[in-house]
């Protein structure tokens, strides 16, 4: 009999009803009485010097309320990078200011240099076209390697296009070089992990409402993490005290990383609302999403795999040029370094691993974490070079992997790049994969395809991911400027139903269904009695939001801790009601009972007693039944897979790992491996095809 309540129950998602009936509440669905609208003037050149801006015609258009340019924000702080990376020589990374509006120079197509506030969106857009911008186009820096010639600069003031030159782990460098120099076999692969645009279905949108009566701002915005957005705006950019800024992220229509970050448009609407004394709204067009959302990936990589003739791995060496775009987005420096370099041992036991990442400024849109963030880049290059190596040595690709896996008896396993993997059984994953994908039958399927004039290829790969992005102590050592705990408050109401305020924020994950199951399981009550509150800094505890497959592993654990506190206090109240020792009180199926007796009181009665504390030991127990917890784990979690299989292990209180990003990590190398396999089966000498694997690329490779 399947469970119908609590953890593991296949409950229908409760958020679906509103999404399916058009009753969702996304940021652009919100309108505040009297609101005005913003449109941005954006650069149509990649690199340019702003000689002059004439906004007089725009200001004169009927219905225009205000025009802003970069000069209006010259004294406002820059949007910061959240992670400090030091170069190999110990020099801190270069951090040129990222202004609210471009000032002096525009640095990528789509870089906003002016904004118009008007009575309607149409008038605002019309007025943008009346801004006369004299922008001198300069040569654009776009190619990662030639950018480091510094012939043309993205940021003149730092005198280089290199943000940092990072080595991980630097102590491994020399011995890895030597191991590769002396190895019997070395496989080398150069590849491009192409840039992509996250393209959440819901375009970014921000609506600011300043109240002069109490000097408070409310910002409705498309965010995966309202508290983090508030912190960035308050502490770094606008200087608005946190207690005067309420950030609300209502229903969010997908994010994939792109809505983690604070963007200049949010600061602009806040400033504009204060200036004109009215609510101000901006909704991105899809074109603006392409031009101004943080993009993903964009690595140019050379990876070398050194091994014995029998395929035993000796060393991995990676040299990557990572594009950070024109400005540092909030997680942009962590993504190509600690979310990438630390995973470069993959699922393998290998003594020497060294990763060098040069982060490069270019005249392109900023690049940051996207679906998996760094870990897909690591998995892609590693699993591609292993496949190439297998072909060179004539070893079955899965057997080569198995030969080098970290074995179950080696856990916990500390990799050469500094992570301690908790548990795993990668051989079992491969055997499961053989079964699920019917690998035995592949040869027959290939023959059938060939008989039909088709080529058929098989691509395999394994992956490992550090997720549940959290442990503050660890990320702090690695350069993070924020903590990565999460938080939850469990509020039992007087009539026994429960509101759970969580720091995680759903942009499609189904938190409103999953988190109540955790509480219901622990208390033994109907999950329908429990509701989640999220996405509003005025209502929820200071949590860090949703990304990095962390919602359940980190915030769910905070829910567990807070619920444990509820149970402890409720037992005290129950012991008083039942006139028994607290140690003898048991909780089962929502009922507190005295062990070994039939004396019992329901959870609901305990809740009522907490709020109507008549005949209540006020000297020992406070009234009320509400508890909060912050949870900060000791380690990442390490889900691993073949394609996208999940394994189960104990780690956090729930024993959960993250699976949200797995599809983006394991799939790409499998696809490319399979395409190469198919082409080689027909005698084409193709060892690599860069993504996206379009028909034209395959055709070109076959004919090269």
């Amino acid at each position: 009999m399947p469970k119908d309540n609590g953890i593991g129950a296949s409950s229908l998602r409760r958020e679906d009803f509103r999404f399916l009936t058009g009753s969702g509440n996304y940021t652009d669905d919100i309108n505040v009485h009297g609101q005005a609208y913003v449109a941005f003037a954006r650069s149509n050149v990649a690199n340019g010097k702003i000689i002059s801006l004439d906004t007089s015609a725009a200001e004169g258009l009927d219905g225009v309320l205000a025009v802003f340019t970069g000069a209006d924000f010259a004294d406002v702080g820059g949007n910061p990078a959240g992670w400090l990376i030091n170069s190999r020589d110990g020099e801190p990374m270069k951090e040129p200011k990222r202004p609210v509006l471009a000032h002096g120079k525009v640095r990528h197509v789509g870089d906003a240099y002016a904004a118009v506030v008007a009575e309607t969106e149409e008038i605002a857009r019309d007025a943008v076209e009346l801004i006369s911008a004299n922008i001198e186009e300069l040569p654009a820096v776009v190619d990662l390697k030639s950018a480091l010639d510094n012939k043309h600069l993205v940021h003149d003031e730092i005198e280089t296009n290199q943000c940092f030159d990072w080595g991980w782990i630097e102590d491994n460098r020399e011995k890895t070089d030597q191991a590769i120099a002396n190895a019997p076999h070395v496989t080398t692969l150069e590849l491009v992990n192409n840039r992509l645009v996250p393209n959440a279905m819901e375009p970014r949108c921000s609506l600011a409402d300043y109240n002069a009566g109490n000097d408070e701002y409310t910002l409705y915005t498309t965010s995966q993490n309202p508290h983090l957005t508030r912190l960035l705006i308050s502490a770094f950019v606008m200087g608005i005290p946190e207690n005067k800024l309420r950030v609300i992220a209502p229903d969010v229509g997908g994010g994939f990383g792109s809505k983690i970050y604070h963007y200049g448009e949010e600061a602009l609407v806040l400033a504009a609302s204060k200036k004109i004394g009215r609510p101000v709204k901006w909704t991105a067009t899809r074109t603006e999403s392409f031009l101004s959302d943080a993009h993903g990936r964009d690595h140019v990589t050379k990876i070398e795999l050194a091994c014995e003739k029998d395929g035993t791995f000796i060393a991995f060496r990676t040299e990557t040029y990572a594009n950070v775009g024109a400005y540092l987005s909030n997680f942009s420096t962590a993504t190509p370094t600690f979310l990438h370099g630390t995973l470069m041992s993959g699922n393998y036991s290998v003594p020497n691993v060294y990763v060098n990442v040069k982060a490069v400024f270019t005249n392109t849109a900023p690049v940051d974490a996207y679906r998996g963030a760094g870990r897909p880049e690591a998995t892609y290059s590693l699993e591609r070079v292993i496949d190439k190596c297998a072909r060179e040595l004539g070893i079955d690709p899965l057997e080569l992997r198995k030969k080098n896996f970290v074995k179950p008896d080696q856990f916990p396993y500390t990799t050469a790049v500094g992570l301690e993997y908790d548990t795993g059984n990668y051989d079992a994953l491969v055997e499961k994969l053989r079964d699920l994908a019917d690998l035995q039958g592949f040869d027959q399927r290939r023959k059938e395809s060939e008989a039909n004039g088709m080529l058929r290829g098989l691509g395999v790969n394994t992956y490992i991911e550090a997720c549940g992005i959290a442990p503050s102590n660890l990320v702090g050592v690695l350069g993070s400027r924020v903590g990565l705990y999460d938080a939850a408050t469990v509020r039992v109401n007087a009539t026994g139903n429960i509101s759970v305020m969580v720091g995680a924020h759903s942009h499609g994950q189904g938190h409103e269904t999953a988190f109540p199951q955790v509480v219901a399981e622990m208390l033994g009550i109907d999950e329908g009695l429990i509701d989640i509150v999220h996405g509003d800094t005025s209502k929820i505890p200071f949590g860090m939001g949703s990304y990095g497959s962390r919602s359940l592993a980190v915030c769910g654990s905070a829910v567990v801790r807070a619920t444990e506190k509820i149970i402890n206090k409720a037992k005290k109240i129950a012991s008083h009601m039942l006139e028994a020792s607290e140690a003898d009180i048991e909780l089962k199926d929502g009922v507190f009972s005295v062990s070994g007796t039939d004396k019992a009181v329901s959870f609901g009665d305990v809740a009522l007693k907490a709020y109507i504390p008549h005949n209540y030991p006020l000297e020992d127990i406070e009234p009320g039944l509400e508890e909060s917890a912050f949870y900060d784990p000791a380690n990442f979690t390490y889900p691993a897979g073949a394609y996208a299989c999940e394994v189960e292990v104990e780690h956090n209180p729930l024993g959960v790992k993250g699976c949200g990003e797995a599809g983006a990590i394991g799939s790409p190398p499998s696809v490319v491996n399979a395409v190469v396999d198919a082409l080689q089966s027909a005698g084409h000498n193709v060892t690599h095809i860069d993504m996206p694997v379009s028909p034209s690329r395959v055709w070109a490779a076959m004919n090269s």
Partner: protein, 161 residues
């Protein structure tokens, strides 16, 4: 400015619009029917799909004035009369055919359009019909499954899980 009148989800509505006002903006801003979403402005994503005189239309690419006198249906009008989910809506929930929910109204409207024309579509026909509707969360499998289930077909053997 022009005065327009149309029937939306069975109710007669009217309003005053500029010539350039899009149908989706009239629905969202004037009628406050915000279930119809704007995802791309260019007819590619399908989040704004509604029915006009029984035909699926991308309301970001139709002027409100063009719908003067028309019979329009939106996602807000899809549930059963008692407020419960329609067969298509219920199938989306049952088969996990949505995550963030932003594309969902357009998907439901596109599905309703298909099933009206083709009561028992094949998987290939469903996928072909959804070419104009983009989802970035689900990978489509469960959307296809939901639509086929809503048509009364057995979906237990579909590869999508």
């Amino acid at each position: 400015m022009a005065n327009i009148t149309m029937t939306v989800n069975g109710k007669s509505v009217s309003g005053e619009v500029e010539g350039r006002t899009l149908l989706v903006d009239f629905l969202r801003n004037d009628l406050r029917l915000t279930g119809t979403h704007v995802g791309c402005d260019t007819s590619q994503c399908g989040a704004c799909t509604v029915h006009v005189d029984g035909i699926a239309v991308k309301s970001c690419t139709m002027l409100a004035a063009e719908a003067d006198g028309a019979d329009v249906s939106t996602i807000e009008g899809q549930a059963n009369a008692d407020g419960s989910l329609s067969a298509i809506q219920a199938a989306f929930q049952e088969h996990h055919g949505l995550q963030c929910g932003f594309c969902t109204p357009g998907m439901v409207m596109a599905a309703a359009d298909l099933l009206k024309k083709n009561a028992k579509p094949t998987e290939a026909e469903v996928r072909h019909h959804l070419e104009g509707n983009i989802c970035r969360c689900t990978g489509y499998h469960n959307i296809v499954k939901a639509i086929m289930a809503a048509s009364g077909q057995d979906v237990s053997q579909l590869a999508a899980e």
